[in-house]
């Protein structure tokens, strides 16, 4: 598991969670549970970021996938959608606590506080002038996310420099939501960054062949004056946009790009099974596992689908070794299933299953999704 991967996570005062924690986190984490128990909210919380702009991008995305295009307008004193979305009107500070792999042995709750080296002059100036500074110090066990702070920071920056374009929703690359527009499929920068040479594209083609066996080439091409990611098939010279293909291949392609983008970090995927035919699940999971291992990415994925869970298990039972002597079975120790269960007091608790416990539950056909 990567040294920056989470091993423990806790969030307080975030949406429906007064306090919610995940224990014994692995590299491949499934999150299951009933509707409205908060699976997607857990993914959102896992995206906590010390960078003010990245966090705002994520918050915008969370609202955008719900059909709300939130563009902060600091001139108007309007109802603050973000504040209400995050913790209603409780006005309590949202707190994140976590451990990451490289410090697990030290048993220390690290504070990934605002990393001062990464701040711009404006942000550092803002911090120094605001009482927020007093809540954060080098030894604080918490990373505090105060929504008002972000609003103020942006106001400050916007007023000073007037360069932030908040009329564009920038999609956070830490997430894949099932109803997210597939504009990422045509994200040329991502594609060009991570699939620059022939060898990488060849490998990508092999990964996509599970969904489209005849694909031979993938390129960035122009059609009708628009740059698009396009593919061509065997025995054909014609290229057509990848976006013309089905949901399955577009989804896999997007996730593979996001895995490359989030090298060493974590990627949250909501309803990972959506759009994938049950017969493709094994290849889909195997491809994602191998890519995540190669890129040291920690995966958190929600699902309702029992077949998706079964194939997750079956792929991790595969003993066949690859050219490096590695088998999928070697990753069993990194697999977890978190079942979110609403308690009688309306709080939500996550029950952790390691691979053995998860395997037992699936094999005995006992329901673990609620």
């Amino acid at each position: 598991m990567g040294e920056n991967h989470l091993t423990y996570f806790k969030v307080e005062n975030f949406k429906r969670f007064e306090s919610f924690e995940l224990n014994d986190i692995g590299q491949f984490n499934l999150i299951v549970g009933d509707n409205n128990v908060g699976k997607t909210s857990v993914l959102e919380a896992l995206g906590f970021d010390t960078n003010v702009y990245k966090m705002l991008e994520k918050l915008q995305l969370f609202l955008f996938v719900r059909g709300i295009k939130f563009i902060p307008d600091f001139k108007k004193k309007t109802k603050n959608l973000l504040e209400h979305y995050l913790n209603d009107s409780k006005k309590k500070e949202i707190k994140f606590s976590f451990q990451i792999q490289k410090h697990t042995n030290e048993n220390v709750l690290l504070s990934k506080c605002i990393e001062r080296n990464n701040l711009t002059d404006v942000e550092r100036d803002f911090l120094e002038k605001n009482s927020f500074e007093s809540k954060v110090n080098d030894y604080s066990p918490y990373q505090l996310l105060n929504v008002q702070y972000y609003n103020n920071a942006l106001t400050s920056v916007a007023n000073s420099y007037n360069y932030i374009d908040l009329n564009v929703v920038n999609y956070s690359h830490s997430y894949f939501f099932f109803n997210q527009p597939i504009e990422l499929v045509n994200n040329l920068d991502l594609f060009s960054s991570y699939f620059t040479d022939l060898e990488q594209r060849k490998k990508l083609i092999e990964q996509l062949k599970f969904f489209a066996p005849n694909i031979e080439h993938i390129e960035r091409n122009e059609i009708d004056g628009i740059q698009l990611i396009q593919v061509n098939e065997k025995n054909s010279t014609e290229f057509k946009p990848l976006a013309y293909y089905g949901d399955g291949i577009n989804k896999l392609f997007t996730i593979l790009m996001l895995i490359r983008k989030n090298n060493g970090e974590r990627l949250m995927i909501d309803e990972i099974d959506a759009g994938i035919h049950y017969s493709r699940f094994k290849d889909f999971w195997r491809t994602i596992f191998k890519s995540a291992i190669a890129n040291d990415v920690q995966i958190f994925a929600t699902t309702h689908n029992i077949e998706c869970l079964k194939y997750f298990k079956e792929v991790l039972e595969e003993e066949e070794k690859d050219e490096n002597g590695f088998s999928m079975k070697d990753s069993q120790r990194e697999a977890r299933c978190f079942s979110l269960v609403q308690q009688p007091d309306n709080s939500v608790k996550a029950f952790t299953k390691n691979f053995e416990q998860f395997q037992w539950a699936i094999d005995s056909e006992n329901e673990i999704r609620d």
Partner: protein
């Protein structure tokens, strides 16, 4: 939620799951398909208390966290397999403490004697089927007469053989049995009263028709 019933039922294996499901359906007119969980696992561990391991306990812990009542229906067993009514009760209490789980317990056949589900099933064959049990006894006596060291079918085998005579092999297997088949099973027999009384604290009895 998947089911609105405020109850979780934990049994040993798939065969027990089928019996309890049909029994509750018959006496209480309720489907508990989504509320019954068996602890056997793929490897079919038959040592009773070994059914409780971190995997099965994790399921009970998860289900215990909801606002539902837990019921555990197991075999009492006997000295023949290192069990017995009192011993099992004691062991199950230790399991509760060890894993921090809670459940009400019923031990087959009648929650007071040693035995298994099969002892109860033997008693609830219909009157028409009971004579077949005598044939089976003749069969096992015959084997013993030839040589006592030869093994004879166990209780499960006996129940299967008798049921097979009436409904055929495929429908005689534990998980495939239809306990609502009144040609074979009498779910009104006095032998089921302890189980019915136990379950009636969690389910309302269906009205009797006159």
């Amino acid at each position: 939620m998947a089911s609105e019933l405020k109850i979780n039922i934990f049994v040993e294996g798939i065969d027990d799951k089928k019996f309890i499901s049909d029994f509750i359906s018959y006496h209480f007119n309720v489907s508990v398909e989504k509320n019954i969980f068996h602890l056997e696992g793929k490897d079919k561990i038959n040592t009773k208390i070994e059914l409780f391991n971190s995997s099965s306990a994790s399921i009970i812990q998860q289900k215990t966290a909801t606002n539902k009542k837990n019921i555990l229906v197991f075999d009492a067993d006997g000295e023949y397999n290192n069990g017995g009514f009192k011993k099992r009760l004691f062991e199950l209490n230790e399991i509760k403490v060890k894993y921090g789980i809670n459940f009400d317990t019923f031990l087959f056949p009648n929650n007071k004697e040693d035995g298994e589900l099969e002892d109860l099933l033997e008693r609830i064959f219909t009157d028409d089927v009971q004579p077949i049990l005598n044939c089976f006894k003749n069969y096992t006596d015959c084997i013993t007469k030839i040589d006592p060291k030869y093994s004879k079918p166990n209780k499960k085998g006996k129940i299967f053989a008798v049921a097979e005579s009436i409904v055929g092999a495929d429908n005689a297997k534990g998980s495939a049995r239809d306990y609502l088949n009144s040609e074979l099973w009498n779910l009104e027999d006095d032998a089921v009263k302890p189980l019915k009384d136990f379950l009636s604290t969690y389910f309302e009895s269906k009205p009797t028709t006159t």
